[in-house]
Point group: C2
Chain length 204, copies 2
């Protein structure tokens, strides 16, 4: 793949994110399509698991399970689609070492309610927003048509999922409070990604 400079990357401006992904990440991702697919499948499975876990934690919160359950189903559909592509290429899931991204974000979820709930929504929304931004880049720059189509199809859902978490927050918290915390968390998110993780990952 031809190496792009950062300013040459056509930015999908995502309103949650403070920074755009670097050309180095894109180059790393496009050069390692199979490892990225395996990591991507793991991410979809984990996103489904996280949504189901949130439904367990906030069992009695009306309006939460109604949107998180369909979201979890959609993540599982994506998971199935990605492992289908992996299998068609003679590969399968592997327990790849995870980059520190999600664990570092989770560390910033405050422990006490109700702000724990707010932070959980915002961190999940940020992860979905980053997936959206990166899938948009891969949909444009992957050298493989099947993968360009995959990412093009999936990025729409990722965008929708950010909105789901935004709406869950908006229905329960003051807008000023949400925006203040989102600003802090999106700064943390951008800082985590400022040093490229050595292994190709969806969130390296």
């Amino acid at each position: 793949m031809e190496v792009l400079k950062d300013e040459e990357i056509p930015i999908t401006k995502i309103k949650w994110l403070l920074t755009s992904s670097s050309s180095k990440w894109l180059e790393q991702a496009v050069s390692n399509p199979i490892e990225l697919l395996i990591d991507h499948a793991n991410c979809e499975r984990k996103a489904a698991g996280a949504a189901v876990q949130m439904m367990f934690r906030y069992l009695c919160e009306p309006g939460l399970a109604e949107v998180l359950s369909p979201l979890a189903r959609e993540e599982l559909e994506h998971f199935e689609r990605v492992i289908g592509i992996l299998r068609s290429r003679g590969c399968y899931l592997e327990p790849l070492p995870a980059p520190p991204y999600a664990a570092l974000l989770a560390k910033n979820v405050r422990k006490e309610e109700p702000v724990r709930m707010l932070d959980t929504f915002l961190v999940s929304g940020l992860i979905e927003a980053r997936s959206h931004e990166r899938m948009a880049l891969l949909a444009l720059h992957s050298t493989d048509k099947e993968l360009r189509n995959l990412y093009m199809d999936l990025l729409r859902s990722e965008a929708r999922h950010s909105c789901v978490y935004w709406n869950l927050a908006k229905e329960r918290f003051e807008k000023d409070m949400i925006l203040k915390r989102l600003k802090e968390l999106s700064r943390i998110e951008a800082d985590i990604l400022s040093n490229l993780h050595p292994q190709p990952r969806m969130h390296s």
Copy 2:
């Protein structure tokens, strides 16, 4: 509801199960439709969670995630349908105390592999088989048409889910070994249910 004697219950003979549900369970269940629906919703959510957890544990096992992911999606669809009915009746999810059924079965899952995997499949299959049997009874005996239709629709999936777990076991273990262990576990399952739990539950 008219009290039936045990021998009057039209038995849906499920091959996994050693015993049929008692008329006392059916009477308890039919007399408490809302509490049963809340418990049922919790069961569907937990079944989805258990399938996703199994996918995490056996990440690299080919052919496992491909069937457990659609199964988890279907459990979530059922969950959504049940909470839809609850909401339409002015009710919602509640953290009902769980009966000892699932925890006692889980205690009988051996700790070491590969028999841990076999036991996990068989315990999950037994729970699905019991759900199938009980939904068949509720589809016949519920005094509420909407609920009869609900249980009639869902019991087919429960039957399919038992088969999913049976096939997962059959593809990986000797038939004699499976049948021997299934006999032990189905005895345990029947014993757990031999004393009716005081609260109305899908698995009381």
